[in-house]
């Protein structure tokens, strides 16, 4: 483990000991123990935080300054909450092509990369203050959703052992989530096979570990990639029958299969699969939407809607002219958040389709996201060589 990873681990441990961190500016005012409060007072704080963030990125990111100048947008156009929607965006794919940073006073930054499920990985830089802010935000979100418990749990992680690659964002978020309870045991299903080879998907070992956890009786928390979780559960069911997850167990997945491209066929649904192969309470199966470039957690409530926490704003936009769409209308998801200061992603246009809803019957309130697919990946049947073919060629599967 390198010095940065040690510091990162220490920061995580310290945060979960005190559940607080030292606040520095107006952005920190947003991070409270009421992550789904959208009162008028919040609106004022959010606007101030976004204005602070905009000023910071324009002053400290040459990239973002040039972009705003090109789009003819400056601070004078940011006068009220409604103006936030007009803050110039960076498209998420840009972070897959360029490593773009904003200067901060923090020299101890961490570089995080995405898992590259769409072909290219994005890489971003995270400063300590933004990292602490994120941790606090994540903690408050899980706390508000009732997922923090004193009861020790066994963790089965369908993700990479951070000792193999600590820069993967998904690994980092899953490691953070092992701090939401006291930990009995942690098993990484994507790990070295013990013979110096790796990382490998240790499916058989994961199945046996799940069996041991089930026999142990303590709550199990299964985290990480959906595909690997399915593979382990399927093998478990074939060998031992339906997996009897102990009470208060959770399956917390981190996206995957956007657009429905899963290997189990078009009729597959994760919930149906779990109902057939496990005894897990479906209210305890939660998916998460987050992006390496944005890092805000949009976690599912027990009604399976991904709630927008109040450190962010979201809308959908028409792919044809980028006009802001009404709630419920499917378009490209556009996310806004001031909480990362080391990367100019305060206004991020994603390449995911989805919509913003507001009628979730759960007690949390506020808007939520429905992610319906990944954009711009149509299979080409034309005889013209196309950009997507080039990407497929250039990036080995």
């Amino acid at each position: 483990m390198g010095i940065r990873e040690k510091i990162k681990e220490r920061v995580i441990r310290e945060f979960f000991k005190t559940h607080s961190y030292r606040k520095k500016n107006v952005i920190d005012e947003l991070v409270t123990d009421r992550p789904f409060d959208f009162s008028p007072a919040w609106e004022k704080t959010f606007f101030e935080a976004m204005r602070h963030s905009f000023r910071h990125h324009c002053a400290n990111s040459e990239f973002y300054r040039r972009l705003c100048r090109y789009k003819g947008f400056d601070e004078s156009k940011l006068q009220s909450f409604g103006d936030i929607w007009d803050i110039p965006y960076v498209m998420s794919d840009v972070f897959k092509r360029y490593f773009i940073q904003t200067k901060t006073g923090d020299m101890l930054r961490t570089e995080l990369s995405s898992s590259g499920t769409s072909g290219r990985k994005s890489k971003i830089s995270l400063d300590m203050q933004s990292g602490r802010r994120l941790l606090a935000s994540i903690y408050h979100i899980y706390n508000a959703m009732g997922l923090i418990s004193d009861k020790p749990a066994n963790y089965l992680l369908m993700t990479y052992n951070p000792e193999l690659d600590a820069s993967l964002a998904t690994t980092n978020s899953d490691v953070v989530m092992t701090h939401l309870t006291r930990r009995k045991e942690i098993f990484y299903a994507l790990d070295s096979d013990g013979r110096g080879q790796g990382p490998r998907f240790l499916k058989d070992e994961a199945v046996e570990k799940l069996k041991a956890f089930v026999d142990d009786g303590a709550p199990v928390r299964m985290l990480g990639f959906v595909h690997h979780a399915c593979e382990v559960i399927k093998s478990y069911a074939e060998k031992y029958g339906k997996a009897p997850f102990p009470k208060e167990s959770y399956i917390l997945t981190g996206g995957g299969w956007k657009g429905g491209a899963n290997p189990y066929g078009p009729d597959f649904t994760f919930h149906k699969f779990l109902a057939e192969n496990t005894t897990i309470d479906m209210r305890n199966v939660r998916d998460l939407y987050t992006l390496n470039e944005h890092m805000v957690f949009y976690l599912e409530c027990d009604r399976h809607n991904m709630h927008v926490p109040n450190v962010a704003l979201a809308c959908s936009r028409s792919p044809r002219d980028l006009r802001k769409l009404a709630d419920g209308d499917i378009g490209l998801l556009h996310l806004y958040s001031p909480i990362i200061e080391s990367c100019p992603a305060l206004s991020l246009l994603t390449t995911d389709y989805g919509y913003v809803g507001r009628s979730c019957p759960c007690r949390l309130g506020g808007p939520y996201l429905k992610v319906t697919g990944r954009a711009g990946v149509t299979k080409k049947t034309t005889c013209a060589f196309t950009a997507d073919q080039y990407v497929r060629e250039a990036v080995p599967a």
């Binding site: 972009l67 840009v94 002219d321 149509t378 049947t381 034309t382 950009a387 073919q389 080039y390």
Partner: protein, 458 residues
């Protein structure tokens, strides 16, 4: 009848079904085709040309009911503008005319008579005869609706027993064409050797029936589908691989000086807008010689932008999917990000509606490969030498196709030699990139030669 009806044309008759083709249907059809091939003589060329002559005359009339029906169906299925469809249908009779077809036969097979009798080959002193290959499946690509029918015409004039697999993007026009053919083929010399079918691409049961029994498979389309067709072919089945191709343009300083700028860029705009760049011969990038001064370059770019604007009102863009819009948007954003990230002098022109996009790189130096998301998106890049162009396209010779050019006459041989070595299979002036000359090779080879078997008579 279910909600969806599948219209196909099977050896002389339209067949409508409430279900798509099955593997058992395919086996039956292949078996019937085999019987036709083995038990009947190929029709005389003259009779085939006679049918096409009458067909060509009929399609010359804009009021001809099948033409009107085709125009309406194509607008619905392809989303291409009515103006563009009309322009293509105006050209269609020329494609069917016996003069064109004879030019094709003579240009590609070496003689007008070679399918009927032994013809002396002057260079060897031997005589040659071209017999039909036998059973031929044409796999049509999506979006370029004329491609499948054009390939089918090649199959018919070489007197084969032909199957056409329609693209899912366009399942009407080939059937309308076959019906129209039937109207004029009173002796049933062509239509009884023709089946126009549809199934969902990748259906192994159906495709294996063809892979194991065709003499030739003429494939047009994208890389993924091509890979699927390459698998599991019978030893006697020859696959003609017209996979994905990229085309581009080159503009030299001397060439630019001798051309009227707006005429040149209007021609380039036509090449870009035709088929929404979905055809293999539409330019995706334009390379302008680095010795063109910044002022001349600016004038060229401005003129191209004006031409793109004009062509947009003349041929409105086609209907597009959300994904296609996103791909264009992504291309624009990445180009601009280069400018913001490293100060690269790049400009992006085009309306917010994403109808067309010109990405102008103002200085030479970038050597990464250029590919376009299509839909009227073109990158203009400076080149300083042949070597630089070679580095941009290194390792992609298989994908190269047409190079449009604006060169001074004395430059042409040098460029031809270089581009040919690079992998380019056709050079032509701008404005003609999507209109290949009949009888000339395509993708580096003669299409008709893939459809015949030569016999040498010594």
């Amino acid at each position: 009848m279910s909600e969806r009806a599948f219209r196909q044309f099977i050896f002389g008759d339209v067949a409508t079904s409430d279900r798509p083709l099955s593997a058992a249907d395919a086996e039956r059809l292949v078996s019937a085709a085999r019987a036709i091939r083995d038990n009947s003589s190929p029709p005389p060329q003259a009779k085939i040309l006679d049918v096409f002559s009458r067909l060509s005359r009929a399609w010359s009339d804009p009021g001809y009911p099948p033409r009107r029906k085709a125009a309406a169906a194509l607008a619905e299925s392809t989303g291409l503008s009515g103006e563009f469809i009309t322009a293509v249908l105006n050209e269609f009779p020329r494609l069917l005319a016996p003069e064109t077809l004879l030019k094709k036969i003579e240009g590609e097979l070496g003689s007008r008579a070679v399918q009927e009798e032994p013809v002396l080959q002057a260079s060897t002193g031997a005589r040659l005869m071209a017999a039909p290959a036998g059973l031929v499946l044409h796999v049509a690509s999506g979006s370029v609706f004329m491609g499948g029918v054009d390939s089918l015409i090649d199959g018919m004039i070489t007197r084969n027993v032909n199957f056409l697999k329609m693209s899912t993007d366009e399942m009407e026009f080939p059937v309308i064409f076959a019906e129209s053919l039937k109207e004029f083929d009173r002796e049933r010399v062509v239509i009884t050797r023709l089946a126009v079918l549809w199934w969902k691409g990748g259906d192994a049961g159906i495709e294996n029936a063809f892979k194991s029994s065709m003499d030739r498979i003429i494939f047009w389309g994208g890389g993924e589908a091509l890979s699927e067709w390459e698998e599991g072919l019978a030893p006697h089945t020859v696959l003609a691989r017209h996979g994905p191709k990229i085309s581009f343009g080159v503009i030299s300083r001397a060439g630019l000086k001798r051309r009227e700028l707006s005429d040149l860029t209007d021609r380039i705009a036509i090449d870009i807008a035709a088929w929404e760049q979905r055809a293999c011969n539409c330019p995706q990038a334009l390379f302008v010689e680095n010795s063109v001064s910044p002022e001349e370059m600016k004038a060229f770019t401005n003129s191209l932008v004006g031409s793109m604007r004009r062509i947009n009102s003349h041929f409105p863009p086609s209907r597009r999917s959300d994904d296609e819009y996103v791909e264009v948007l992504r291309t624009r954003e990445l180009a601009l990000a280069g400018r913001f990230a490293s100060g690269e002098p790049v400009s992006v022109f085009g309306p917010e509606t994403l109808d067309w996009t010109v990405i102008a790189e103002e200085s030479a130096g970038k050597e990464d490969f250029i590919s376009s998301p299509l839909n009227r998106t073109v990158t203009v890049r400076r080149y300083s030498s042949f070597e630089m162009l070679a580095r941009i396209f290194r390792g992609r010779a298989f994908y190269l196709q047409t190079a449009g050019y604006c060169l001074d006459d004395p430059e042409l041989p040098g460029y031809a030699k270089f581009l040919s070595a690079l992998g380019v299979t056709r050079l032509c002036p701008f404005g003609a990139m999507t209109i290949p000359a009949p009888g000339a090779p395509h993708d580096g080879g003669y299409l008709l030669r893939d459809l015949v078997r030569y016999t040498v008579v010594e």
